[in-house]
C-alpha cells in the first residue's frame, strides 16, 4: 500500500502527511509538483501549505502543476485523493470538488484544536470512523471559509457528501459549518482541518486523525481502487 504525498513549492505539511501515513502503516512516496506520473501509488494526499505562495488565489496556480493532470485523471478513475487545507483549495480549483474556500470571516489566520463531527463514514477516507463521531483535529488556515451556491450546498447535503462539520465553534464562517466534502463517488475528499496533525499524543491533540489514513488503507486493501 503506497500513499503518494505531493510537494508543491510552498507545501508545508507534506512531511506531516507522510508521517501520518507511515504511523497508519502505509509506505509513502514523496512526489514533486513537476512529476508526470504517479509512480504506482495507490492513493494521493495533497498536503497543506501555501503552494506557489498562494499569491494569486489559494490553489489557483497549483491546479496547473504537471502532477495535477495525473492526479485529476487518476481521481476520475477512482483513486483515493485527499486534499487537506491548501490541498482542499487545490481540489476545488481543479474542479474535482465543488465550491470554494474564502478568507476567514474574521479576516485573521486561526490555529486551534477544532472539534469536528464526521458526517459521512462511507468515503474512501472515513470508513474507520462512525457516522456522527466527534473528533478533534487541528485547524490552521487563513482562507478556510467554505462557500458554494445554495443548490450546490443542498445537493452536497442531499447526497451525503458533507464529510465533516465544525462543532462548537464555526472558526471561519464556513457555510453550514462545513469542514470537509467529497465527490460523488467518495474517493476524493477535501478537508480544511488537519487530521495528519492529530496522530501522535505527544505532538498534537490526540490521535483522532489516524482514521483517515487507516480508512484509505482498508479501502485499497479491499481492492476498490482503479489506478
Amino acid at each position: 500500500m503506497k500513499i503518494g504525498v505531493v510537494t508543491f513549492p510552498g507545501s508545508l505539511d507534506d512531511a506531516d502527511a507522510r508521517r501520518a501515513s507511515e504511523i497508519a502503516g502505509a509506505e509513502t512516496v514523496p512526489m514533486w509538483h513537476g512529476d508526470h506520473d504517479l509512480a504506482g501509488v495507490d492513493a494521493v494526499v495533497l498536503p497543506g501549505g501555501f503552494s506557489y505562495g498562494d499569491y494569486l488565489r489559494c490553489g489557483a496556480i497549483a491546479r496547473f502543476a504537471p502532477v495535477m493532470a495525473e492526479v485529476v485523471a487518476a481521481a476520475e478513475r477512482g483513486m483515493p485523493v485527499l486534499g487537506i487545507c491548501n490541498g482542499f483549495q487545490i481540489l476545488c480549483e481543479s474542479h474535482l470538488l465543488p465550491g470554494a474556500l474564502m478568507r476567514n470571516e474574521h479576516q485573521r489566520f486561526v490555529c486551534r484544536d477544532q472539534r469536528v463531527r464526521i458526517e459521512n463514514a462511507s468515503t474512501a477516507w472515513t470508513s474507520a470512523y462512525d457516522a456522527g463521531q466527534h473528533v478533534t483535529f487541528v485547524l490552521k488556515s487563513g482562507e478556510g471559509g467554505y462557500v458554494a451556491d445554495v443548490s450546490t450546498l443542498d445537493r452536497l447535503e442531499g447526497d451525503g457528501r458533507v464529510v465533516a462539520r465544525y462543532l462548537e465553534v464555526n472558526p471561519n464562517g464556513s457555510l453550514r459549518d462545513i469542514a470537509g466534502i467529497s465527490n460523488e463517488r467518495g474517493n476524493v475528499v477535501g478537508l480544511m482541518p488537519h487530521p495528519e496533525h492529530a496522530v501522535d499524543e505527544l505532538c498534537g491533540p490526540g490521535t483522532d486523525g489516524l482514521g483517515f489514513f487507516i480508512s484509505v488503507m482498508k479501502h485499497v486493501a479491499n481492492g476498490s481502487v482503479a489506478r
Binding site: A15, C111, D200, L202, C203, G204
Partner: protein, 781 residues
C-alpha cells in the same frame, strides 16, 4: 538626518554619483571632493578614520559600505566594549556544550547524540513601528536566515513583543499589523511559533519592541560558517533579485530616534516574500546535504556590504566582486544603492569551482535564481596586514578597493559616558508598601479578577491563535505553556525547550537585578518543563546610548546578565543590541529580553503547566516575601512603579531547577508552572484553566493572604504531584534544600469546576475564563 526622500534625484549618493559611478581612480584624482558622510550618519572622526585607512577619500560606494557597516546596528560601536563581559566571564564548564559562540550568525550548542541546536533572537523594532506588517514579517525572515546560514534546519520561532497601552489608539494600528506580519510570514514558512511574550507599557507607545527568535537543528557535521576561503572559489548570490527596498535602513532606521515631525520613512522598510524564503530554506538545506557549500552568509542588515566584507574578512581576506552581475528588480539602481539594499530573501555562498554546476542545478530545481558574482582571491602579505582586500568592480571600473576587516570588524568602538540617573534613588525610595492592599475575602476576589483580566496577565490567544504552532509535527508544548518544547528527533527522543522573558518594570527599578530576574525567569520557565537549561541568547532593547542615563542602565544590565550567566553556568551564545528605542527624549524601560535554551533527554517526560487530574496535591516551591516593587498588582491596582524589584537568588533558582528537572525525569509531577507576573493567584488560575481542572487551596498560615497570592518573589513554582509520589517528591525537595509547602489539591473537572481559596473566595472556572479571555478580543476585535 534628512536623507529619506522618496524621489531618487534627491538621494545624496545618487546625485553625487550620477551619471557614471565614482571610481577609485576618480577618488584619487579628486581628493577634496565634498562627500555626504554626515547625511549617511558618520561622525567627523569616523570619516577621517576611513580616509586614513584608505590613504585617500573613499569612493561613494566605499562610503556607503563604511556608513552602513559602522552604524550602531551593524558595528555595536557603543556596546562592544561592555558585551566583552559575556566572553570574559565564561568558564570552561560553560564552554563544554558550546560549539560556536558569539560573533557568528548564531551560537551553536551541542545537545548530545550528534545533534546541535542553534538559536538567536533579534530586534526589528523601528521597521515595525513604521510599517507594522512588513517590519515584523521581515524580522522573522532575517532571523530565520541567520539560523539557516549556520547549516541548521529552522524548527521553531518565538516572538517577544512590547506595545504601548492596550487601549491606546496607536497600539491598535501597530499590534494587529505586527501580529499579522509575524503570522503571515512565519506561517507561510512552515515554522511553528511556540511561544514568546506580549507586554503593554506606556513607555513603548511610540516605540514598540518586536524581537524574533528562531531555533534550528543540525547534525554536528552539518555546521557551516560564514567565511570565504580557498582561492578561486566562486561567490554565488542566490535568492531574490535586488531592489530598492530598505536602502539605508540600517543607518537611518536602526540608529536614529523617531522625531514626530521627521520625513516619511516608509521607503526604508523592506518588503518580505515568505514564499521565496521557503524556497530558499529548502534549496539551501539541499545544497548543504549535497556538500556544495564551502561558506555561507545571509543578506540582512547592510545587504551586500555586510555579506561581502564579513565573508572575506572571516576567510582568506581576498574577494573580487563584479557588482554589475547582481540581478536587479530595478535596473536604474546605482552601485551604491545595490551595496546598501536590504532586499530580503537573499543568500551568498562560497562554492568550489567544480561544484558550481551542481549548485546551479539545485537552485534551478527550486526556481531560485543564482548568479556567480565573484570569487575568492589571493591576498599579498602586506594587504593581509592591512585587513585583506575586497575589490568590487562596476562595468570594468573599480569602485571599491578596501581591506574588508576594516569594514566588518574594525569600526569605531566608543566608551560612552554613563551615569546613574538622578531619579533612580527617588524611584527606588517610592516603596509600594504605602499602597492600600485588599484585606477582605471580597477584596481579594475583586483584585484577583481585575488582575487576570488586565492586559499584561490576560489570555494571549487572540495573538497566538494567529500563529501555526503545529506545522512540522514536532511541537510538544507551545504557548501558553511556560516554555515551547520541540521534539528534535523521534528515534532518540531528544527535545529542546525555549523561553524568552523580561520584566522591563523590574529593570527600570534596578537594571542589574532586572536583567538577572529576566535570566532567572527564562531559566525557570525552561526548567519547569523538565528541561536542563544549556545556553542563553539575548536581545538588549534600550534607549539612546548617547544618553548617559540609558548607558548606565545598559552597562548595569549587561553586567547583571553576565554575572548571572556565570553563576548559573550557562553561556551567552549570541544576541543583538537595539539602541535608540525612545520617543523624543523618553526611552523605553530597559528591556533586556533573555532567551534560554534547554534540553530534554526524553521529551515524552516533559511537564506541562496545566492540572490534568483530580486529587493531586499542589505544592508551592520557593520562598514568598513581601515583594511588590514593579509588580503587576502595583500597576493594575495603583498605576504605581517604584521601590525595589524582587530579590535575586540564583543559587535558589538553580536548586529549584534541579528539583523540577529531576521530578520530570522520575515522573513525580503531573504539572508544573512558573510563578512570575501576578504571582501565585495568576499561576493557579492558569493551571486550572489550561484543562478545566479545579482546585482547593489552603493558604499557608503566618503570611498575609494578599502577599501569598500576589507577591512576585522570584525562584518559585507550583507543582501538582503525581499520585503516590508525595513522599518521593518531598524527599527530592529536602535533598535539594528547596522550600516547599503543600497548598492544596486539585478537585473538580470541567467548566463547572471551581477554584476555592479557603477563607478568602470561591471562583467558578467559567467566570475566571470569561474574565481572563475576553480582554484582548474586546480591545482588538
Amino acid at each position: 538626518m534628512k536623507m529619506m526622500h522618496r524621489g531618487r534625484p534627491d538621494h545624496p549618493i545618487a546625485s553625487s554619483s550620477a551619471p557614471s559611478p565614482d571610481t577609485v581612480a576618480a577618488a584619487e584624482a579628486s581628493p577634496d571632493r565634498q562627500q555626504p558622510w554626515r547625511e549617511l550618519g558618520l561622525e567627523p572622526v569616523e570619516y577621517d578614520r576611513i580616509r586614513e585607512i584608505l590613504g585617500r577619500r573613499p569612493t561613494s560606494s566605499e562610503l556607503a559600505m563604511y556608513s552602513v557597516m559602522w552604524s550602531e546596528h551593524c558595528s555595536y560601536k557603543s556596546s562592544k566594549a561592555l558585551l566583552r563581559q559575556f566572553g570574559e566571564k565564561m568558564t570552561d564548564a560553560m564552554r563544554e556544550h558550546l560549539m560556536v559562540g558569539i560573533g557568528e550568525n548564531a551560537g551553536v550548542v551541542d545537545i548530545g547524540q550528534g545533534y546541535a541546536v542553534t538559536f538567536k533572537v533579534e530586534s526589528h523594532n523601528h521597521p515595525s513601528y513604521v510599517e507594522p506588517y512588513q517590519g515584523a514579517a521581515t524580522g522573522i525572515g532575517g532571523i530565520v536566515r541567520d539560523i539557516l546560514s549556520m547549516g541548521a534546519r529552522p524548527v521553531a520561532v518565538m516572538d517577544s513583543l512590547r506595545f504601548g497601552p492596550a487601549d491606546a489608539p496607536d497600539t491598535h494600528r501597530v499590534l494587529p499589523g505586527v501580529v499579522a506580519g509575524i503570522g503571515g510570514y512565519g506561517n507561510c514558512l512552515g515554522l511553528p511559533n511556540i511561544g514568546g511574550e506580549v507586554v503593554f507599557d506606556q513607555s513603548y507607545s511610540g516605540n514598540p519592541l518586536v524581537n524574533a527568535l528562531c531555533a534550528g537543528v543540525m547534525r554536528h557535521d552539518q555546521l557551516h560558517l560564514a567565511k570565504a576561503s580557498g582561492v578561486g572559489n566562486q561567490v554565488i548570490l542566490y535568492g531574490a533579485k535586488t531592489g530598492g527596498d530598505g536602502i539605508g535602513g540600517v543607518s537611518v532606521l536602526a540608529s536614529e530616534t523617531f522625531d514626530s515631525d521627521g520625513p516619511a520613512k516608509r521607503p526604508s522598510v523592506q518588503v518580505g516574500d515568505p514564499f521565496m524564503e521557503k524556497l530558499l530554506i529548502e534549496c539551501t538545506l539541499e545544497l548543504f546535504a549535497e556538500g556544495l557549500v564551502a561558506g555561507i552568509q545571509d543578506l540582512g542588515g547592510a545587504g551586500l556590504s555586510c555579506a561581502t566584507s564579513e565573508l572575506a574578512s572571516a576567510g582568506d581576506g581576498g574577494m573580487h566582486i563584479r557588482l554589475d552581475r547582481v540581478p536587479l528588480r530595478d535596473a536604474s539602481l546605482t552601485p551604491e544603492e545595490i551595496l546598501m539594499s536590504e532586499s530580503q530573501e537573499r543568500m551568498m555562498a562560497v562554492v568550489e569551482p567544480g561544484d558550481v554546476e551542481r549548485f546551479m542545478k539545485i537552485c534551478a530545481k527550486w526556481d531560485v535564481e543564482a548568479t556567480v558574482i565573484g570569487e575568492v582571491t589571493e591576498v599579498s602579505a602586506s594587504d593581509q596586514r592591512r585587513g585583506g582586500r575586497l575589490h568590487i568592480d562596476w562595468r570594468d571600473q573599480t569602485i571599491v578597493d578596501v581591506p574588508p576587516r576594516t569594514v566588518a570588524h574594525q569600526g569605531p568602538v566608543y566608551e560612552r559616558s554613563h551615569s546613574r540617573p538622578g531619579w533612580q534613588d527617588r524611584l527606588q525610595a517610592d516603596d509600594p508598601a504605602r499602597l492600600a492592599r485588599p484585606r477582605t475575602g471580597d477584596e481579594i476576589r475583586a483584585t484577583l479578577i481585575a488582575m487576570i483580566a488586565s492586559p499584561n496577565l490576560c489570555d494571549r490567544s487572540w495573538v497566538t491563535a494567529q500563529y501555526d504552532r503545529y506545522v512540522q509535527g514536532n511541537t510538544v508544548l507551545a504557548q501558553p505553556e511556560d516554555a515551547g518544547v520541540i521534539r528534535v528527533d523521534k528515534t532518540t527522543g531528544l527535545g529542546v525547550a525555549l523561553a524568552t522573558d523580561c520584566n522591563g518594570r523590574f529593570t527600570q527599578l534596578d537594571p542589574y537585578a532586572g536583567a538577572q530576574l529576566a535570566l532567572a525567569e527564562a531559566y525557570r520557565n525552561v526548567a519547569v518543563t523538565g528541561a536542563r537549561p544549556l545556553a542563553v541568547t539575548n536581545c538588549l532593547n534600550f534607549g539612546s546610548p548617547e544618553d548617559p542615563a540609558v548607558m548606565w542602565q545598559f552597562s548595569e544590565a549587561v553586567r547583571g546578565l553576565a554575572d548571572g550567566c556565570e553563576q548559573l553556568e550557562i553561556p551567552v551564545t549570541g544576541g543583538n543590541v537595539s539602541f535608540y528605542n525612545q520617543t523624543g527624549s523618553n526611552p523605553v524601560v530597559p528591556t533586556p529580553v533573555v532567551g534560554v535554551l534547554g534540553v530534554l533527554g526524553d521529551v515524552s517526560r516533559r511537564t506541562p503547566m496545566g492540572f490534568d487530574a483530580e486529587g493531586q496535591s499542589i505544592h508551592l516551591l520557593g520562598a514568598t516575601r513581601d515583594e511588590f516593587g514593579g509588580s503587576e498588582w502595583a500597576q493594575v491596582a495603583h498605576r504605581h512603579l517604584g521601590g525595589l524589584p524582587p530579590q535575586v537568588d540564583l543559587e535558589a533558582e538553580r536548586r529549584l531547577a534541579d528539583v523540577l528537572i529531576a521530578a520530570a525525569g522520575e515522573g513525580l509531577v503531573g504539572a508544573a508552572h512558573d510563578l512570575s507576573d501576578g504571582g501565585l493567584a495568576q499561576a493557579m488560575v492558569e493551571s486550572c484553566l489550561r484543562r478545566d481542572v479545579g482546585a482547593v487551596v489552603q493558604l499557608p498560615e503566618g503570611l498575609d493572604p494578599f502577599i501569598t497570592l500576589f507577591s512576585e518573589s522570584a525562584g518559585r513554582a507550583i507543582v501538582a504531584v503525581a499520585f503516590g509520589e508525595d513522599e518521593a517528591f518531598r524527599d527530592l525537595c529536602s535533598v535539594h534544600h528547596v522550600v516547599r509547602q503543600r497548598i492544596g489539591v486539585t478537585a473538580g473537572l470541567g467548566a463547572g469546576a471551581i477554584l476555592e481559596i479557603q477563607g478568602q473566595c470561591t471562583l467558578r472556572l467559567a467566570l475566571l475564563r470569561d474574565a481572563w479571555s475576553s480582554t484582548l478580543p474586546r480591545l482588538f476585535g
